[in-house]
Symmetry: C3
C-alpha cells in the first residue's frame, strides 16, 4: 500500500503555469472526471460535451479554459490547454511510480559484465543477458528478458514479462507494456519450389526516444538493416510491425494495427484500430487512416483515408453483399442504358 500523493492548488497552478482562482492552500489527492470527482479531487473540462457536468461538480478545483471560467462553480486553474494540463497532472497522481523498488532483485539474473546505470531497478525473476547495456533510472519489470547486447536507454520503463531480443536498441524514456516483444524474427523465407527455407533476420530494431509500445505488440527485427521506430511514436496493444518497417516521429498507431514488411510511415500520422498496411508502401507525413481500413497503395498526400463498409442489419447486409459481387456488371449495364438513352 502506498501513501496517496497530495498537493496544494497553489503548487499545482505553479507547476502548470495556470492562473488560480480560489484557495491556494486547499490540498487535493486525486484526479477525476467532473461527474465522479469528490471534494479531494481536481478535475478538468477539456471538451464542450462535458460542460453539462460542470455546474454540479463536487471537485475541489477544475482545470479550465478562460472562456468557460464564468460557468465554473468552484475553484479553477485557468489555462489554454486543459487536456494537456490533465495529462501533466495525471502523472503526479500515478501510484505505480511509488511501487518501484530500486536495485537488482535477489531472484533476477543478470549476466556478468552487463553494464548497469545508476538507480536501475531490475524486478523479480527478470533476466538480463550478456553484453546488455542498461541506462540510468531504467526499470525492468518482473519476468522481463533482455537479450544479448541490447541497449535500454535512460529512464525507460519495462513492465512485467516484456521480451527484448538480442541486438535491440531502445531509446530514452520508453514505456514497454507487458507481453510486448521487440526484435523477434521478421517473416522471411525463400521457396525452393517444394518448401520454405528460413532467412535469418540479421538486422535489429531501433526505437527512438519517448516511444510507448502496448501490451502484446510485436516489433520484428530487420532482415538486413533495422526496423526503425522514430521519436515520440506511440503504439497501442496487439499491434504487428513487420521487418524493416520505418515509422516517423510523433506517429500514433491504435490497437490491432498491422504493418507489413518494408513499409515506411511518415511523421505525425495516425492509424486507427485494426488498420492494415501492405508491404513496401510509402505513407507520407500527416496521413490519418480510419479504423479497419486496408491500404494497398502508397499515399502521397496528407489527409484522411478510409476503406470498408459500416455495419448494418445482417438481413440488409446479405442482400447488399451479394450485389457487391455484381458491381462491375451493374456498372457496365448502367453505361449501356445511358448509351441507349442518348441515341
Amino acid at each position: 500500500m502506498t501513501t496517496p500523493f497530495t498537493c496544494s492548488l497553489a503548487e499545482l497552478a505553479q507547476r502548470l503555469g495556470a492562473t488560480l482562482v480560489g484557495d491556494g492552500e486547499r490540498r487535493v489527492s486525486g484526479l477525476a472526471t467532473l461527474s465522479d470527482a469528490g471534494p479531494q479531487d481536481i478535475s478538468f473540462l477539456a471538451n464542450k460535451a462535458y460542460l453539462k457536468y460542470l455546474a454540479e461538480t463536487r471537485a475541489a478545483a477544475v482545470l479550465i479554459h478562460p472562456a468557460h471560467a464564468a460557468d465554473c462553480p468552484t475553484a479553477r486553474l485557468e489555462l489554454d490547454n486543459p487536456y494537456l494540463a490533465y495529462a501533466q497532472l495525471s502523472r503526479l497522481f500515478d501510484p505505480f511510480n511509488a511501487q518501484i523498488a530500486s536495485g537488482v532483485h535477489e531472484t533476477a539474473w543478470v549476466a556478468e559484465g552487463v553494464s548497469l546505470g545508476s538507480n536501475v531497478s531490475i524486478g523479480p525473476q527478470a533476466v538480463v543477458e550478456a553484453g546488455a547495456v542498461i541506462g540510468d533510472d531504467v526499470v525492468i519489470g518482473a519476468g522481463c528478458v533482455i537479450g544479448c547486447d541490447s541497449v535500454i536507454g535512460e529512464g525507460s520503463l519495462l513492465h512485467a514479462n516484456v521480451s527484448v531480443y538480442h541486438g535491440v536498441v531502445i531509446g530514452a524514456r520508453a514505456i514497454l507494456h507487458s507481453g510486448c516483444v521487440i526484435g523477434a524474427d521478421g517473416f522471411g523465407f525463400a521457396h525452393d519450389g517444394g518448401g520454405w527455407h528460413k532467412i535469418a533476420q540479421l538486422g535489429g530494431v531501433i526505437l527512438g526516444d519517448d516511444v510507448e509500445i502496448g501490451s502484446c505488440s510485436s516489433i520484428d527485427r530487420g532482415a538486413l538493416g533495422d526496423t526503425m521506430i522514430g521519436n515520440d511514436v506511440k503504439i497501442d496493444s496487439q499491434v504487428q510491425i513487420a521487418h524493416n518497417v520505418q515509422i516517423g516521429d510523433h506517429t500514433a498507431l491504435a490497437g490491432c494495427v498491422g504493418i507489413a514488411g518494408s513499409t515506411k510511415v511518415g511523421r505525425h500520422c495516425m492509424l486507427g484500430g485494426g488498420v492494415g498496411l501492405a508491404g513496401h508502401l510509402t505513407i507520407c507525413d500527416g496521413v490519418q487512416v480510419t479504423g479497419m481500413s486496408l491500404v494497398t497503395n502508397s499515399i502521397t498526400k496528407p489527409g484522411v483515408y478510409s476503406s470498408g463498409t459500416g455495419a448494418m442489419s445482417n438481413a440488409l447486409w446479405r442482400k447488399n453483399a451479394v450485389r457487391f459481387k455484381q458491381l462491375d456488371d451493374i456498372a457496365k449495364r448502367l453505361a449501356r442504358l445511358e448509351r441507349d438513352n442518348r441515341t
Copy 2:
C-alpha cells in the same frame, strides 16, 4: 503422468440428472466424438448433423436427447441438453486439474505481507508483489506476475506467464490464459501541437465472476475510473479491450476482436472473430455482430449486424472493388436515368 479419471455410467447419470438406459456398472475413462469414441469412452449427440455417426459409434454410452433415443445402438444417458451435459462431463475428464501442485513453489517469489488464501498454488518462477490478495483455491501458473495491491478471487486459475498489473480486481473462478495482460495502460495522450504527452492511466480493471480471458489478450486499465468486465463474460484469444470499456454479463467475444475506448457493450451479446467497435459507442443487450464487421455507430436494437464483403476470386474482386469507388457516381447516374425515363 497422471492416472486417468474413470467413472461408472450410473454415477455419471446421477451427476447429470440423466435417465440411464444400459449397464450402470460399466466404467468410462474418456470423452470423444461419436466417430472417434472407443469402448472406454462416453460420447454425445448435440447436433443433428452428427446423427449419421450414431449408428456406428463404438462409444460405451451416448449423451442424447430422448427424441433420438431410438436410434442409439449403445447405452445412453437421456437428457434435454446433451451439449450442456457434455460441457459438464468434459471438466471431469480434464487431466490438467490433477497436475496442479499445491503450495508456493520454492522458486516463486511472494512479497512480504501478501494475503494468501487457503489451498493456494503458486507455480515456479511466479511473482506476487506487495499488497496483493490471493483468494482461496487460486492457482497461479509458472512465470505469472501479479502486481501490487491486485486481488485474485477465489478459485481463479491463471495459466503460465499471465501478467496482472497493479490495482486490478479479478472475481471468483476466473480463467486467464497464458500471455494475457490485465491492466496495462490505456492508450491516452494529449497533443501540444508538436508531440504527445502521456496521460497516466489512473483507473483499474474489474473483472466479474466466472470470466475467461484467452491467450495473448489485453484488457487495459481505465484512464479515470475502471474498465469493467461483467460476470460470465467469455473473451477469446488476441482480443484488445481498450480503457474504460464496459462489457455486460454473459457476453462472449471471439478471437481478434478489438474494442476502442469507453465503448459499452450490453449483456448477452456475441461479437464474431475480428469484429471492431469504435470508441464511445453503446451497444444494447442481445446484439450479435458477424465476423470482421466494423461498427462505428451505437446499436439500439437487439439483432444480428454485419459489414464488409465476402471473398471471391481475385480477378472478379479487382473489377468490383474498382467500381466501389464509383458507387456514388453510379447511384446518381441511375437516378438521372430514372428521371429521364419518367419524363
Copy 3:
C-alpha cells in the same frame, strides 16, 4: 559480444554449389543489400528491381543468376536461385546461434523425471514441468514454461517467454518466438439459456517438423482431438489458430491472421496479413487469400481470393459507403429500367 563469423568466397561457393568468379581466398564477414554492402560483405541480386544498384555495389562478391553475370562489377557466385542462396548464407551469419549457452541454467527449474536429450540448453528462469520430453539440441529460452507431458522435438528453438501448455507435441526443428502460446484452451462453451458453461478442452496441439510460429501468436488446443499444424508451416506474429484447426504442409500465414474452429486449410496455401477464415470450412491446396479478406465459405479451387475494398480519401469513401447500403436497391432499379427500355 561474439566474434563475427568469417568465411572465404571459395568455401561459400562450395557450400552453395555455386560457380565462383573471383578471388576464392577473399574472406567475408557479413551479408548486406547491394546498396548497403561494404568490402567485407557478400550481397545478392534476387530481383530485377535491384539491378540498378548492382553497378555501384561495394560488396566483396554477389550471389547472382548467370543471366546477370555480365553486369556484375565485382566477384560473383553464380547459381540458379540467388534468393535461396541468400537464405542459406543468412543462417551462417546469424550471431544469435553463438550466444546460446548449453546446459540447464542455474536459475531454471526442471521437474524431476523430465527427459532431457543431449546438448539441451535451458535458459534462465525457464520452467519444465513433470513428464516433459525435451529432444536433443533443443534450446529453451529464458522465462519459457513447458507444461506437463509435452514433447519438444530435436533441434527446436524456443525464444524467451514462450508458453507451451500440457500435452502438446512439437516436432523437430521448430522455431517458436517470444510470447507465443501453444495449447491454451479453445473457446468452447455450452449455453443453458442463462449463461455459459465451460467445455474443457481435452485435445492437444500437434506441430509437425520445421514449423515456425511468430511472436504473440496463439495455437489453441483441441476440444476433442487435436489441433494439427503440418510440416514446414510458417506462421507469423499475432496469429490466432482456434481449436481443431488443421493446416496442411508448407502453408504460410502472415501476421494477424485468424482462423476459427475446425477449419481445414490445405497444403501450399498462403494467407495474407489479417485474413479471417470462418469456422468449419475446408480450403483446398494451393489457395492464396489477399490481405484482410474474410472467407466465410469453403474454397474448392486453387487460386487467388480477395474481399473488401481498398482505401480512398475519406470524403469519397463516405459517399460510396452510404451507397453500399443501397446496393440491392440500386440493382433492382437498374433491372427495372432495363425492362422498361426493352418494352
